[in-house]
Symmetry: C2
């Protein structure tokens, strides 16, 4: 019998209780142990609910109960989650969390404390919802140094971009629909400005490269400026616009960024639609490996948390070594990274062609049917800083979107 | 320092040595230990080779050396691999293997011996080459019972089918090209008749369902009867022909099979081409999760083996619980499983329409441009046995291929 406590009875927390209740026999078989929820911590009361009798309001009850071996933290936010998690680990209790803010901010310290106490700090659910990606990076892709990670890590923005693409909606309408359906929060900033994806790629990159990637250092651009017209250009070229989070190492220099990209239809990420997530991991010798699945949702996320509980139960008194040191990794600014750019400018193409090719050399022009007061063009691959220098010399720029063209996959 | 021995210096074995040599620093960091290859076992000599001085011809030297903590078995075939692996485990040495025949035949017994000796028997490389799928099933997808597995598990046949599709080649030409390129063996039977995929789905299904799925019980049909004309029909309908390995549980009944299927272009497996593999796993609550990557090849497979070595090194004296009992799982015959079928018949469509609809009710007819002496049709979903009964009443059948139409993915 292993007693656990669940901190937070919100969406994910109630999902964790539901998954453990409904899959009890299977979970006990797979963990080789009986998993019992002894406490649920929440400030609220839930009269008549299944957890009514095990609900506590005081974290110290959990902390001081030596029977509790595993603490599930699904409150979200850095505080009080950080305080509770750190105290739990110091008290010799393993912790499983879905909290990407906590992991991105304090991951390496919490991993060290877990190691020092021969217990575990597990966080599979913090990235990619139900998709196993943390554990594969930590335990399966260990033979070959990881060179690049690239993925769609935020289901909300992917849903919004998919709806804009399929329905022709403007951003605001797609966002409000996402909010109505519960895919976006009332304050959607963390998702649509890319902050959520930024924390997730910081976590994956830290695990891949072994040193701490600070999320504050990652260049991050959201999707709130993407318009229905941008998407019309993308479709005309055979592309989709996706919010990509990526990191890579080239010649000893590390790069990371989050931004909307034009993704070609032959790219495997092109067809990842709705709230799905997908993550590519590239190694020198293994080539590309991709993981795909539900990136969010109550039960998928809860299943990822509960799988960590099963693993923690299988590793009571045995730390699973995690390769993420507290030393910060120096990220090179994105100015040196090279790619093609799509640019929209006002005016008439015939009148402005010379001015544009003078700056960018040969480009590919795109015009939309029935639109005469603007046009677009795609540059050859350029360093970000070179592109920005030339762009300054072009008046009346409506917008620019990066092109994703470095494809390494076989399909 | 952890000493390992590599049994077999063939393609995968030499890859294992190469990966450990070239990624030594990174592997040691990730395993938290120094990994050293103390012996390589092979019947042959390799004068001048890197392994010349550590080569042994007698397995007992390895068995009797208490310094050897991990044995890597990459010889292939059931014997003498089984004898060597069993002796190694009984002597308290963990074993990592890429040998799907060994795992499919003796997996649960070897897992039990490892458990009894508090060591590990790991076999990530036996399925899906570089793709992490065994460990995710065993350690990440544990919260939610797995309902279905479906995948392209054999790179050789996928390469052959891709070439037939892209180049319009007949099977024989695609096979001989695959053999020239080293993607197919001189005796290609294990691949093209589906035996390799059969063993792999037996392994995945055993892990997913927890009881032993005997590969001999799995209905298996290869691709050697697929013709260029079949592929022309598939293309005309917007499908590709793929060798799919699958298993599922429905209302307490377990199904498993390997056979060529027509896969619709909107299905994520449609675009998995060449030697790539992809595996879908469906849970009740997590929905579909997909894993994709290089399904074979010397270095990708070697990386999967070495990742197991890293995990075994992280788990010296700690058994990682694997959910695969020695009890055999009863598979229900495929007669009750339901799907649509594509059928090719000789003759003229107009003359034979009545005869066919009399047997199958409403069907969808397909004719190829410039072909007048045969045509095809697709049935509505039928149980396999019902389909076969009706098909008996239709003379001059050229062939039939199953249709894959139960898609649960979001893309």
């Amino acid at each position: 019998m292993i007693n656990i406590a669940v901190l937070g009875y919100g969406t994910v927390g109630s999902g964790v209780v539901e998954v453990i209740d409904s899959n009890n026999a299977s979970i006990n078989r797979k963990s080789g142990n009986d998993i019992r929820i002894k406490y649920v911590l929440d400030l609220r009361d839930f009269p008549g609910d299944r957890v009514e009798k095990i609900l506590v309001h005081d974290f110290d009850i959990i902390l001081n109960d030596p029977e509790v071996k595993i603490v599930v933290e699904v409150m979200g936010g850095v505080e009080p989650a950080y305080t509770f998690v750190k105290k739990s680990l110091l008290a010799g209790k393993s912790v499983c969390t879905s909290n990407k803010e906590l992991v991105a901010t304090h991951g390496p310290e919490l991993i060290r404390i877990a190691r020092q106490n021969n217990i575990n700090f597990l966080f599979e659910a913090s990235v990619g919802g139900a998709i196993p990606v943390i554990r594969p990076i930590n335990s399966s892709l260990t033979a070959d140094p990881i060179l690049e990670i690239k993925g769609i890590l935020n289901g909300t923005t992917n849903y919004i971009l998919t709806q804009m693409d399929v329905e022709g909606w403007e951003f605001d309408k797609a966002l409000s629909t996402a909010q109505e359906l519960g895919y976006a929060e009332r304050n959607p900033e963390a998702d649509i400005e890319g902050y959520d994806a930024c924390r997730k790629i910081a976590i994956l990159s830290s695990l891949a490269f072994g040193s701490n990637v600070k999320f504050e250092d990652i260049y991050t651009e959201g999707i709130s400026k993407i318009t229905a017209t941008d998407i019309r250009y993308a479709k005309k070229m055979g592309y989709a616009i996706k919010l990509l989070a990526s990191s890579s190492v080239e010649n000893g220099r590390y790069f990371a960024m989050v931004a909307p990209f034009m993704v070609r239809s032959s790219h495997p990420l092109y067809s990842v639609s709705g709230v799905y997530n997908a993550i590519f991991v590239r190694g020198d010798q293994i080539g590309d490996v991709m993981f795909y699945g539900s990136g969010a949702g109550k039960l998928p996320t809860a299943c990822a948390v509960v799988a960590d509980v099963v693993d923690a139960a299988k590793h009571i008194d045995k730390h699973i070594y995690t390769f993420w040191s507290e030393e910060d990794l120096h990220l090179t600014g994105i100015g040196d990274s090279t790619r093609s750019f799509f640019v929209r400018v006002s005016g008439n193409r015939a009148e402005r062609e010379d001015e544009i090719t003078k700056q960018f050399g040969e480009v590919k022009f795109i015009e939309l049917d029935g639109v005469s007061d603007e046009f677009g063009f795609v540059t050859k691959p350029l360093a970000e800083k070179t592109f920005e220098e030339h762009l300054k010399n072009i008046p009346n720029v409506i917008g620019r979107i990066r092109m994703e063209e470095k494809l390494n996959a076989g399909c």
